[in-house]
């Protein structure tokens, strides 16, 4: 019994001495600040800063005074924290997100034959480009989606196209290398207008390849010459000076130009010839453009009852102002709907 106790005690003492000595003589000197900065970084290890991971970036910040703002994932506040900790001035760069420059899904750029093989864009590109009609278009097999560490790229299985969710994308850039057709670019998050086409073919060929491809008509480039340049027969936005005029969207005959980053790229269905276009007043009242007078009256009555004077008196001042504005809007819409002339707003061919 006593031998066991003595043995355990002596073993413990020897081992602890060894550890203490090792800690003294074999310790690796690390700057404690590196660990502190590493704690402040998001820890995604995406490589968007250009370093191999968050620990390497933390080391670079401390040792080489690299800008903390290089990290695309951390928000402005986080970069500010790091900067104030290290005593550096943070440079705020505009957040960038990825954009897949193609909206040619398989309803618009159909597959020419049946593809059977590995479901990966890089693998399919060697097998007849997965038989997609447009040689510059998105294959939709998911290489970029799998490369994204933040699950920001969605592949619509039926439509076979990649869509970047800009609210999830942090701009690390991993998707760019994974695309075999080099159609993913980084665009500023604030730019509202994008041209979702990557094909430099001219109109007669382009029309056969994809019903929504850029045909090079140059209408958008003529309207905004300092923001849109023509490269071959493809209109390209210069993101150093992006356009902000939303009316550019209407200049495109093939609906190529879009706002936002492709989430709502699925367009409203094309109105058939003879359909009546609705106006703002119809939306406010919630009626169809070809509604009858009785329907418009009913809709108006339903809506205005909420803004009856007896109710408004009971509200406080702020709410009263709001309610009066709303009721005026509804009254105006009612007048416009009654005055609406359907023949003036009928869809003609080709719209």
């Amino acid at each position: 019994m006593i031998e066991a106790v003595l043995f355990m005690a002596s073993t413990g003492m020897i081992l602890s001495t060894v550890i203490a000595l090792a800690n003294r003589f074999l310790a690796v000197e690390t700057d404690p600040r590196i660990e502190a900065v590493e704690e402040m970084l998001p820890g995604a290890n995406c490589g968007g800063c250009g370093y191999s991971g968050c620990p390497a970036f933390a080391k670079a910040i401390i040792e080489e005074s690299v800008e903390p703002g290089l990290c695309p994932v951390s928000s402005g506040d986080e970069a500010q924290r790091i900067a104030s900790y290290t005593g550096m001035e943070p440079v705020f760069s505009e957040p960038y997100v990825a954009l897949v420059k193609c909206c040619g899904d398989n309803t618009r750029s159909p597959e020419r034959a049946l593809y059977n093989g590995v479901n990966d864009c890089n693998a399919a590109i060697n097998v007849a480009g997965a038989t997609k009609s447009c040689q510059h278009g998105c294959l939709g097999l998911g290489s970029c989606s799998r490369a994204c560490p933040f699950n920001a790229i969605e592949i619509d299985e039926e439509l076979r196209i990649a869509i970047v969710h800009p609210n999830l994308c942090v701009g690390c850039g991993k998707c760019i290398e994974s695309c075999p057709r080099d159609m993913i670019t980084m665009v500023p998050k604030s730019a509202p207008i994008h041209i979702l086409c990557n094909s430099p073919e001219k109109a007669p060929i382009q029309r056969k390849l994809c019903t929504r491809g850029c045909i090079g008509c140059q209408r958008c480039a003529r309207q905004a010459p300092e923001s849109i340049k023509m490269v071959n027969f493809l209109a390209t936005i210069d993101y150093d000076n992006p356009p902000h005029d939303l009316s550019l969207v209407d200049t495109c005959p093939v609906d190529r130009i879009h706002t936002s980053l492709g989430i709502d790229y699925i367009p409203a269905p094309k109105k058939k010839k003879g359909a009546i276009k609705s106006l703002e007043c119809h939306k406010v009242l919630g009626v169809a453009p070809q509604a009858s007078e009785a329907e418009i009256n009913k809709a108006f009555a339903d809506k205005i009852v909420h803004y009856d004077i007896s109710l408004i008196i009971k509200m406080d001042e702020e709410e009263q102002k709001q309610a009066i504005m709303e009721s005026e809007k509804i009254s105006q819409a009612y007048k416009d709907c009654l005055a609406f002339d359907p023949s003036a707003h009928t869809v003609k061919e080709g719209q």
Binding site: R112, A113, L114, Y115, N116, G117, N126, V127, A128, A130, T131
Partner: protein, 347 residues
């Protein structure tokens, strides 16, 4: 020069294929029509002689165990695929049926239905589906189930039913219900040399034990069929049985009381079924023939050691499971040298 040549008939219409219906894939475009389901069906066919032998030796209870195990295995496969959210298509590759049959071969003829149920659960859900399904399991599912049952329910798994031949004899004593290997270990414990007289019975299978431990003849027929059809490699059963024969033969030669002779060892226990049907399971054994031979020799050594000096009378299941764990290492060690490999090659 006329563009119409005499080669092209002008009276019959020339049909061309519709280009949009063509299939595009990488080369090669032919296949030798081997498929997983086909392989499994061949294995099932090869097990038929053994099934027939088991029914002949044990009667109808054997059929009951077989059907129960197969049914439970298939059901668990379908249920687990459904719960895991995968498509049910992998269940059509017949591998659950094979696992069910092999599991039944490891059980006694009068095994209770709930033993079949628990065994199927361990085999399909724990040892196969939880690892990812066919192709991902590292251990042989039927053997994992057998070992699991052996450890969990040792009294039930070590009591054997009488054979139909033994039932005709009026007195059934504990001795007649023991497997030959158990008899051998008893005599070793008693310090006596075992002298077995009826090798023919061992060969045809008229002995006590689990369903698959019976007829070496049936297993040879089935295993030989599989080797001829190139479903399994001959290296594995050959080296396995050879190693056991050599080790047990040597020990028996010098210390006869320690263990019976080599032929006894080959014909008894799960060695035959293990060598031909369990140790040749593709997912859990090495990918090269050389690796397979090393695997088989390892199994042989461990089986012999357990049988001669271990506490359990039968060592095949443990041996195969143990070597299954070594399969990735064996694969790494037996990497084939490519054609034209030379020492200067840096990688």
């Amino acid at each position: 020069m006329s563009k119409e040549d005499k080669n092209i008939p002008d009276h019959k219409e020339i049909l061309l294929p519709d280009a949009s219906k063509l299939i595009v894939s990488s080369s090669p475009h032919l296949h030798d029509s081997g498929q997983v389901a086909k392989i499994m069906r061949e294995v099932a066919l090869a097990m038929l002689p053994l099934v027939v032998a088991a029914i002949w030796v044990f009667g109808l209870p054997a059929v009951r165990v077989l059907l129960l195990c197969t049914a439970f295995c298939l059901s668990f496969e379908l249920i687990s695929l459904k719960l895991l959210g995968k498509s049910l298509k992998p269940a059509t590759d017949f591998s659950a049926v094979i696992t069910g049959m092999l599991l039944a071969m490891n059980l006694d003829a009068n095994a209770p239905w709930w033993i079949c149920l628990i065994g199927s659960f361990i085999a399909i859900v724990v040892a196969k589906q939880l690892f990812g399904g066919l192709g991902y399991n590292p251990f042989n599912p039927a053997l994992v189930a057998r070992v699991g049952l052996l450890i969990g329910f040792p009294d039930i798994m070590t009591v054997w039913s009488p054979t139909t031949a033994a039932q005709k004899v009026s007195t059934i004593d504990a001795q007649s219900l023991a497997t030959p290997l158990e008899i051998a270990s008893q005599s070793t414990a008693a310090g006596k040399e075992l002298l077995w007289d009826n090798y023919f019975d061992l060969f045809t299978g008229n002995i006590s034990g689990c369903l698959g431990e019976t007829s070496a003849l049936a297993i040879l027929v089935g295993g030989g069929y599989l080797i001829l059809r190139r479903i399994i490699w001959w290296q594995i059963p050959f080296f396995y049985i050879l190693t056991v024969a050599i080790i047990t033969g040597l020990v028996n030669n010098f210390v006869p009381m320690a263990t019976p002779d080599a032929l006894f060892h080959i014909l008894t226990g799960g060695l035959m079924i293990g060598a031909f049907f369990m140790a040749t399971d593709m997912q859990t054994t090495p990918v090269t023939r050389k690796g397979g031979a090393i695997f088989a020799i390892g199994c042989g050594v461990i089986t012999s050691v357990i049988r001669i000096w271990g506490a359990y009378p039968e060592g095949v299941s443990f041996a195969i499971l143990f070597m299954n764990a070594f399969t990735p290492l064996i694969d790494k060690m037996t990497r084939v040298k490519p054609f034209g490999f030379w020492q200067g090659e840096s990688k």
